[in-house]
Protein backbone atom coordinates (compact mmCIF):
# COMPACT_ATOMS: atom_id res chain seq x y z
CA UNK A 1 0.00 0.00 0.00
CA UNK A 2 1.31 3.42 -0.88
CA UNK A 3 1.06 5.35 2.36
CA UNK A 4 1.87 8.75 0.92
CA UNK A 5 -0.80 8.99 -1.76
CA UNK A 6 -3.36 6.26 -1.09
CA UNK A 7 -6.48 5.99 -3.20
CA UNK A 8 -9.88 6.37 -1.55
CA UNK A 9 -10.37 2.64 -1.18
CA UNK A 10 -6.90 2.18 0.27
CA UNK A 11 -7.39 5.07 2.69
CA UNK A 12 -10.65 3.59 3.98
CA UNK A 13 -9.16 0.11 4.19
CA UNK A 14 -6.20 1.55 6.10
CA UNK A 15 -8.67 2.86 8.68
CA UNK A 16 -10.44 -0.52 8.90
CA UNK A 17 -7.33 -2.57 9.68
CA UNK A 18 -6.42 -3.37 13.27
CA UNK A 19 -2.98 -3.37 14.84
CA UNK A 20 -2.83 -7.13 15.40
CA UNK A 21 -0.60 -9.65 17.12
CA UNK A 22 -0.57 -13.21 15.81
CA UNK A 23 -0.47 -15.53 18.84
CA UNK A 24 0.82 -18.54 16.84
CA UNK A 25 4.04 -16.89 15.76
CA UNK A 26 4.09 -13.96 18.22
CA UNK A 27 4.66 -11.64 15.27
CA UNK A 28 2.50 -8.74 14.19
CA UNK A 29 -0.22 -9.66 11.73
CA UNK A 30 -3.48 -11.52 11.42
CA UNK A 31 -3.48 -15.04 12.87
CA UNK A 32 -7.11 -16.06 12.36
CA UNK A 33 -8.77 -16.92 15.66
CA UNK A 34 -5.63 -16.55 17.79
CA UNK A 35 -5.17 -12.85 17.22
CA UNK A 36 -4.93 -10.01 19.68
CA UNK A 37 -6.10 -6.59 18.52
CA UNK A 38 -3.41 -4.63 20.32
CA UNK A 39 -4.81 -1.18 19.49
CA UNK A 40 -8.18 -2.03 21.01
CA UNK A 41 -6.59 -3.55 24.10
CA UNK A 42 -4.20 -0.65 24.68
CA UNK A 43 -6.79 2.08 24.26
CA UNK A 44 -9.59 0.38 26.21
CA UNK A 45 -7.39 -0.65 29.14
CA UNK A 46 -5.80 2.80 29.31
CA UNK A 47 -9.21 4.45 29.34
CA UNK A 48 -10.56 1.99 31.91
CA UNK A 49 -7.57 2.55 34.20
CA UNK A 50 -7.94 6.33 33.83
CA UNK A 51 -11.64 6.17 34.69
CA UNK A 52 -11.05 3.96 37.73
CA UNK A 53 -8.17 6.17 38.90
CA UNK A 54 -10.22 9.38 38.67
CA UNK A 55 -13.16 7.83 40.51
CA UNK A 56 -10.85 6.31 43.13
CA UNK A 57 -9.27 9.73 43.63
CA UNK A 58 -12.70 11.29 44.07
CA UNK A 59 -13.70 8.60 46.56
CA UNK A 60 -10.50 9.03 48.57
CA UNK A 61 -10.80 12.77 48.76
CA UNK A 62 -14.53 12.69 49.48
CA UNK A 63 -15.52 15.03 52.28
CA UNK A 64 -18.83 15.93 53.82
CA UNK A 65 -17.86 19.60 54.25
CA UNK A 66 -17.60 21.43 50.94
CA UNK A 67 -17.26 18.94 48.08
CA UNK A 68 -14.93 19.92 45.26
CA UNK A 69 -15.81 19.95 41.58
CA UNK A 70 -14.55 16.42 40.96
CA UNK A 71 -16.53 15.02 43.87
CA UNK A 72 -19.65 16.82 42.70
CA UNK A 73 -19.24 15.41 39.22
CA UNK A 74 -18.68 11.85 40.39
CA UNK A 75 -21.59 12.06 42.82
CA UNK A 76 -23.79 13.35 40.03
CA UNK A 77 -22.93 10.36 37.85
CA UNK A 78 -23.43 7.89 40.68
CA UNK A 79 -26.78 9.40 41.62
CA UNK A 80 -27.86 9.33 37.98
CA UNK A 81 -27.09 5.63 37.62
CA UNK A 82 -28.52 4.92 41.05
CA UNK A 83 -31.77 6.61 40.09
CA UNK A 84 -31.98 4.56 36.89
CA UNK A 85 -31.41 1.33 38.82
CA UNK A 86 -34.01 2.23 41.46
CA UNK A 87 -36.54 2.97 38.75
CA UNK A 88 -36.07 -0.27 36.83
CA UNK A 89 -35.06 -2.76 39.50
CA UNK A 90 -36.90 -3.52 42.71
CA UNK A 91 -35.02 -6.50 44.09
CA UNK A 92 -31.99 -6.49 46.34
CA UNK A 93 -28.64 -6.70 44.59
CA UNK A 94 -25.31 -5.12 45.43
CA UNK A 95 -23.73 -5.71 42.01
CA UNK A 96 -26.13 -4.15 39.59
CA UNK A 97 -25.62 -0.43 40.33
CA UNK A 98 -21.79 -0.53 40.26
CA UNK A 99 -21.99 -2.66 37.12
CA UNK A 100 -24.29 -0.11 35.51
CA UNK A 101 -21.98 2.75 36.48
CA UNK A 102 -18.91 0.97 35.11
CA UNK A 103 -20.61 0.05 31.86
CA UNK A 104 -22.00 3.55 31.35
CA UNK A 105 -18.81 5.51 32.05
CA UNK A 106 -16.45 3.07 30.35
CA UNK A 107 -18.48 2.76 27.16
CA UNK A 108 -19.05 6.50 27.09
CA UNK A 109 -15.32 7.20 27.34
CA UNK A 110 -14.46 4.56 24.73
CA UNK A 111 -17.07 6.03 22.39
CA UNK A 112 -15.61 9.47 22.98
CA UNK A 113 -12.45 8.33 21.19
CA UNK A 114 -14.59 8.65 18.07
CA UNK A 115 -14.60 12.43 18.45
CA UNK A 116 -10.86 12.95 18.18
CA UNK A 117 -9.73 13.43 14.55
CA UNK A 118 -9.59 10.13 12.66
CA UNK A 119 -6.00 10.55 11.52
CA UNK A 120 -4.50 11.86 14.77
CA UNK A 121 -3.83 8.63 16.68
CA UNK A 122 -2.87 6.59 13.55
CA UNK A 123 -0.41 9.39 12.67
CA UNK A 124 1.17 9.27 16.14
CA UNK A 125 1.25 5.46 15.94
CA UNK A 126 2.98 5.62 12.56
CA UNK A 127 5.88 7.49 14.19
CA UNK A 128 6.43 4.27 16.16
CA UNK A 129 6.24 2.20 12.93
CA UNK A 130 2.69 1.03 13.66
CA UNK A 131 0.85 1.57 10.39
CA UNK A 132 -2.62 0.29 11.29
CA UNK A 133 -4.26 1.73 14.35
CA UNK A 134 -7.95 2.00 15.18
CA UNK A 135 -8.52 4.38 18.03
CA UNK A 136 -12.12 3.52 18.99
CA UNK A 137 -12.27 0.35 21.12
CA UNK A 138 -16.06 -0.03 20.79
CA UNK A 139 -15.50 -0.05 17.03
CA UNK A 140 -14.21 -3.60 17.54
CA UNK A 141 -16.70 -6.47 17.66
CA UNK A 142 -14.52 -8.28 20.20
CA UNK A 143 -14.99 -5.58 22.83
CA UNK A 144 -18.73 -5.24 22.44
CA UNK A 145 -19.24 -9.01 22.36
CA UNK A 146 -17.03 -9.46 25.42
CA UNK A 147 -19.08 -6.95 27.36
CA UNK A 148 -22.45 -8.31 26.28
CA UNK A 149 -21.13 -11.82 26.95
CA UNK A 150 -20.40 -10.89 30.57
CA UNK A 151 -23.88 -9.42 30.86
CA UNK A 152 -25.29 -12.65 29.40
CA UNK A 153 -23.41 -14.76 31.95
CA UNK A 154 -24.78 -12.55 34.73
CA UNK A 155 -28.31 -12.98 33.37
CA UNK A 156 -27.93 -16.78 33.39
CA UNK A 157 -26.33 -16.69 36.85
CA UNK A 158 -29.10 -14.63 38.43
CA UNK A 159 -31.80 -16.62 36.68
CA UNK A 160 -30.45 -19.79 38.31
CA UNK A 161 -29.62 -18.18 41.65
CA UNK A 162 -32.92 -16.37 42.20
CA UNK A 163 -35.37 -18.88 40.74
CA UNK A 164 -33.61 -22.16 41.42
CA UNK A 165 -35.82 -25.06 40.38
CA UNK A 166 -38.61 -22.63 39.51
CA UNK A 167 -36.55 -21.70 36.47
CA UNK A 168 -37.12 -25.13 34.92
CA UNK A 169 -40.84 -24.76 35.42
CA UNK A 170 -40.74 -21.26 33.94
CA UNK A 171 -38.78 -22.34 30.86
CA UNK A 172 -41.04 -25.35 30.25
CA UNK A 173 -44.42 -23.73 30.87
CA UNK A 174 -44.09 -20.10 29.78
CA UNK A 175 -45.54 -18.50 27.69
CA UNK A 176 -47.89 -21.10 26.14
CA UNK A 177 -48.57 -23.51 28.98
CA UNK A 178 -47.49 -27.09 29.56
CA UNK A 179 -48.88 -28.60 26.38
CA UNK A 180 -46.59 -26.68 24.03
CA UNK A 181 -43.40 -27.48 25.94
CA UNK A 182 -40.94 -27.72 22.97
CA UNK A 183 -42.11 -24.39 21.56
CA UNK A 184 -41.73 -22.79 24.99
CA UNK A 185 -38.13 -24.00 25.27
CA UNK A 186 -37.36 -22.82 21.73
CA UNK A 187 -38.84 -19.38 22.38
CA UNK A 188 -36.95 -19.05 25.64
CA UNK A 189 -33.66 -19.99 23.99
CA UNK A 190 -34.20 -17.47 21.20
CA UNK A 191 -35.17 -14.79 23.69
CA UNK A 192 -32.02 -15.29 25.74
CA UNK A 193 -29.61 -15.56 22.80
CA UNK A 194 -30.97 -12.46 21.09
CA UNK A 195 -30.12 -10.35 24.16
CA UNK A 196 -26.29 -10.38 24.00
CA UNK A 197 -26.24 -10.39 20.20
CA UNK A 198 -28.46 -7.34 19.81
CA UNK A 199 -26.74 -5.56 22.71
CA UNK A 200 -23.30 -5.88 21.18
CA UNK A 201 -24.23 -5.46 17.52
CA UNK A 202 -26.15 -2.27 18.29
CA UNK A 203 -23.15 -0.63 19.95
CA UNK A 204 -20.68 -1.92 17.37
CA UNK A 205 -22.84 -0.94 14.42
CA UNK A 206 -23.36 2.59 15.64
CA UNK A 207 -19.69 3.14 16.38
CA UNK A 208 -18.60 1.55 13.10
CA UNK A 209 -21.03 3.70 11.13
CA UNK A 210 -19.92 6.83 12.95
CA UNK A 211 -16.24 6.11 12.43
CA UNK A 212 -16.74 5.22 8.75
CA UNK A 213 -18.60 8.46 8.10
CA UNK A 214 -15.81 10.42 9.81
CA UNK A 215 -13.30 8.63 7.54
CA UNK A 216 -15.42 9.50 4.49
CA UNK A 217 -15.59 13.14 5.62
CA UNK A 218 -11.80 13.10 5.92
CA UNK A 219 -11.67 12.29 2.19
CA UNK A 220 -13.23 15.65 1.33
CA UNK A 221 -11.00 18.62 0.46
CA UNK A 222 -9.58 20.18 3.63
CA UNK A 223 -11.36 23.52 3.27
CA UNK A 224 -14.87 22.01 3.29
CA UNK A 225 -14.38 19.28 5.92
CA UNK A 226 -15.46 21.45 8.86
CA UNK A 227 -19.05 21.76 7.61
CA UNK A 228 -19.99 18.09 7.41
CA UNK A 229 -17.49 17.17 10.13
CA UNK A 230 -19.00 19.71 12.51
CA UNK A 231 -22.55 18.60 11.87
CA UNK A 232 -21.71 14.92 12.18
CA UNK A 233 -19.66 15.51 15.36
CA UNK A 234 -22.58 17.32 16.99
CA UNK A 235 -24.93 14.51 16.03
CA UNK A 236 -22.41 11.93 17.12
CA UNK A 237 -22.12 13.44 20.62
CA UNK A 238 -25.79 12.54 20.98
CA UNK A 239 -25.27 9.05 19.52
CA UNK A 240 -22.35 8.10 21.75
CA UNK A 241 -24.06 9.17 24.97
CA UNK A 242 -27.33 7.49 23.97
CA UNK A 243 -25.56 4.25 23.04
CA UNK A 244 -23.68 4.17 26.35
CA UNK A 245 -26.94 4.90 28.16
CA UNK A 246 -28.84 2.20 26.23
CA UNK A 247 -26.21 -0.43 26.97
CA UNK A 248 -26.40 0.39 30.70
CA UNK A 249 -30.20 0.60 30.76
CA UNK A 250 -30.71 -2.69 28.91
CA UNK A 251 -28.20 -4.41 31.19
CA UNK A 252 -30.19 -3.25 34.20
CA UNK A 253 -33.50 -4.25 32.62
CA UNK A 254 -32.23 -7.70 31.59
CA UNK A 255 -30.81 -8.44 35.02
CA UNK A 256 -33.98 -7.24 36.71
CA UNK A 257 -35.95 -9.50 34.35
CA UNK A 258 -33.77 -12.38 35.53
CA UNK A 259 -34.81 -11.54 39.11
CA UNK A 260 -38.55 -11.39 38.55
CA UNK A 261 -40.50 -14.58 38.06
CA UNK A 262 -43.45 -14.58 35.74
CA UNK A 263 -45.97 -16.09 38.09
Amino acid sequence: MSLLHPTEGEYIQHHLDYFQLNLHTMHLGNGGFWTLNLDTLIVSITIGALFLFVFWLAARRATSNTPGKLQNFVEMLIEFVDGMVKEAFHGRNELIAPLGLTIFVWIFLMNCMDLIPVDLLPKIASWFHVYDFRAVPTDDLNVTFAMSGVVFLLIVFYNIKVKGLGLTKEILSQPFGWWLMPINVLFRLLEEIVKPVSLSLRLYGNMFAGELIFVLIALLPWWIQWTLGGIWSLFHVLVISIQAFIFMMLTIVYISMAHSSHD
Partner: protein
Protein backbone atom coordinates in the same frame (compact mmCIF):
# COMPACT_ATOMS: atom_id res chain seq x y z
CA UNK B 1 -15.00 -5.26 -23.75
CA UNK B 2 -16.64 -8.26 -22.13
CA UNK B 3 -14.79 -7.51 -18.92
CA UNK B 4 -15.95 -3.91 -18.96
CA UNK B 5 -19.51 -5.14 -19.35
CA UNK B 6 -19.06 -7.55 -16.48
CA UNK B 7 -17.70 -4.82 -14.19
CA UNK B 8 -20.45 -2.42 -15.26
CA UNK B 9 -23.03 -5.10 -14.46
CA UNK B 10 -21.66 -5.54 -10.94
CA UNK B 11 -21.36 -1.81 -10.40
CA UNK B 12 -24.93 -1.25 -11.52
CA UNK B 13 -26.28 -3.89 -9.15
CA UNK B 14 -24.08 -2.50 -6.36
CA UNK B 15 -25.48 0.97 -6.94
CA UNK B 16 -29.01 -0.38 -6.64
CA UNK B 17 -28.06 -2.25 -3.48
CA UNK B 18 -26.49 0.88 -1.99
CA UNK B 19 -29.62 2.86 -2.81
CA UNK B 20 -31.76 0.26 -1.05
CA UNK B 21 -29.34 -0.03 1.90
CA UNK B 22 -29.42 3.72 2.52
CA UNK B 23 -32.97 4.47 1.44
CA UNK B 24 -35.04 1.78 3.15
CA UNK B 25 -33.57 2.27 6.66
CA UNK B 26 -34.04 6.02 6.23
CA UNK B 27 -37.67 5.38 5.40
CA UNK B 28 -38.05 3.08 8.39
CA UNK B 29 -36.42 5.43 10.88
CA UNK B 30 -38.35 8.40 9.48
CA UNK B 31 -41.64 6.60 10.16
CA UNK B 32 -40.35 5.41 13.54
CA UNK B 33 -39.21 8.85 14.61
CA UNK B 34 -42.45 10.39 13.40
CA UNK B 35 -44.52 8.03 15.53
CA UNK B 36 -42.10 8.34 18.47
CA UNK B 37 -42.03 12.14 18.46
CA UNK B 38 -45.77 12.40 17.91
CA UNK B 39 -46.54 10.09 20.80
CA UNK B 40 -44.05 11.95 22.98
CA UNK B 41 -45.77 15.28 22.28
CA UNK B 42 -49.14 13.67 22.94
CA UNK B 43 -47.91 12.32 26.24
CA UNK B 44 -46.43 15.67 27.29
CA UNK B 45 -49.62 17.48 26.28
CA UNK B 46 -51.64 15.15 28.49
CA UNK B 47 -49.31 15.23 31.48
CA UNK B 48 -46.74 18.04 31.26
CA UNK B 49 -45.28 17.14 34.68
CA UNK B 50 -44.00 13.84 33.28
CA UNK B 51 -42.02 15.47 30.47
CA UNK B 52 -38.47 15.00 31.89
CA UNK B 53 -39.08 11.29 32.39
CA UNK B 54 -40.74 10.93 29.00
CA UNK B 55 -37.91 12.86 27.33
CA UNK B 56 -35.34 10.42 28.72
CA UNK B 57 -37.39 7.42 27.61
CA UNK B 58 -37.85 8.99 24.20
CA UNK B 59 -34.10 9.35 23.77
CA UNK B 60 -33.64 5.72 24.82
CA UNK B 61 -36.14 4.66 22.17
CA UNK B 62 -34.53 7.02 19.65
CA UNK B 63 -31.26 5.19 20.13
CA UNK B 64 -32.99 1.85 19.58
CA UNK B 65 -34.77 3.09 16.46
CA UNK B 66 -31.60 4.65 15.12
CA UNK B 67 -29.25 1.72 15.63
CA UNK B 68 -29.96 -0.64 12.78
CA UNK B 69 -30.43 2.13 10.25
CA UNK B 70 -26.93 3.36 11.13
CA UNK B 71 -25.56 -0.15 10.55
CA UNK B 72 -27.27 -0.45 7.16
CA UNK B 73 -26.09 2.99 6.06
CA UNK B 74 -22.51 2.13 7.03
CA UNK B 75 -22.74 -1.06 4.95
CA UNK B 76 -24.04 0.96 2.00
CA UNK B 77 -21.32 3.58 2.27
CA UNK B 78 -18.67 0.88 2.57
CA UNK B 79 -19.89 -0.65 -0.71
CA UNK B 80 -20.03 2.76 -2.36
CA UNK B 81 -16.71 4.29 -1.29
CA UNK B 82 -14.57 1.48 0.05
CA UNK B 83 -12.97 -1.46 -1.75
CA UNK B 84 -16.04 -3.21 -3.10
CA UNK B 85 -15.46 -6.89 -2.16
CA UNK B 86 -17.83 -8.07 -4.90
CA UNK B 87 -15.75 -6.47 -7.65
CA UNK B 88 -12.54 -7.62 -5.99
CA UNK B 89 -13.79 -11.23 -6.07
CA UNK B 90 -14.62 -11.00 -9.78
CA UNK B 91 -11.25 -9.36 -10.47
CA UNK B 92 -9.54 -12.28 -8.76
CA UNK B 93 -11.43 -14.82 -10.91
CA UNK B 94 -10.62 -12.82 -14.05
CA UNK B 95 -6.94 -12.67 -13.13
CA UNK B 96 -6.90 -16.47 -12.84
CA UNK B 97 -8.74 -16.99 -16.15
CA UNK B 98 -6.73 -14.55 -18.22
CA UNK B 99 -3.51 -15.72 -16.64
CA UNK B 100 -2.54 -12.18 -15.78
Amino acid sequence: MEYAQLVAHIQGLTAVAVGLLIGLPALGTAIGFGILGGKFLEGVARQPELSPMLLMRMFLMAGLVDAFAAIAIAMGLLLLFGNNPLILAVAKVLAVHTGA
